[in-house]
Amino acid sequence: MRDHVGEKSISMDVPENIQVQDLKTILAERYPKATEALEATLVSINREYAFAEDIIPDGAEVAMFPHVSGG
């Protein structure tokens, strides 16, 4: 993802009460090379896992990352 987007973190304006799936669509439009990675990416809102229809609250900390592989 980072490689496709070229940034560690980005800041952008999005509509109010946007769902996770819509944010992914917006990002895919802005970073077409990341489209495939975005499909598989995990999303968190305020440090909790979030899913397609979850709504992103105002001022939330949103992260997108690959499946975890610690240990």
Partner: protein, 154 residues
């Protein structure tokens, strides 16, 4: 009632098993089970020997800490006899034979869940705690990716 010690830590420092055991041992504890993961320098992949130069670990620290707390809570739910819990992940560039991760549980006796709890802890860490590793070998670099997709509420 004595508060049971819970440690979770993401650190670039060397893991000190002696110190961690000391920190989670109450006077009522008679048994501890530790799991540690180490960087494998040589991995057998279907008969082919693959050499790792080092692993580079990265974490989304604040969320990883929250998810370690969740793993500890899940352990306490399942094994109420567990007293102390330590969950530690070392990050940065780590070379073969170096311990990278530790899950330790103490309890009064060995037959009340310490083995199962430590096993559960490392399995869950590898499922839900946002940490990643990149393998660096002479062939190049590969980010390793897990297979588990967290479910709502996890």
């Amino acid at each position: 009632m004595t508060e049971f010690p819970t440690i979770f830590l993401i650190t670039e420092e060397e893991l000190d098993l002696n110190d961690l055991l000391e920190q989670i041992t109450l006077p009522s504890a008679g048994a501890a089970c530790f799991f540690t993961g180490m960087v494998r320098g040589k991995t057998d992949r279907d008969g082919l020997l693959s050499q790792t130069e080092f692993l580079e670990y990265d974490a989304y620290v604040p969320m990883a800490e929250a998810k370690m707390q969740q793993v500890a809570d899940e352990i306490r739910d399942r094994w109420p006899t567990v007293e102390g819990i330590a969950i530690v992940q070392r990050i940065g560039c780590l070379y073969p034979r170096t311990p990278t991760v530790l899950i330790a549980c103490t309890a009064a006796h060995r037959d009340t869940g310490v083995f199962e709890a430590a096993r559960y802890g490392i399995d869950r860490l590898k499922e839900i705690v946002p940490i990643w590793k990149k393998e660096v070998s002479l062939d190049g670099e590969t980010w390793m990716e897990g297979e588990y997709t967290p479910k709502p509420g996890e």
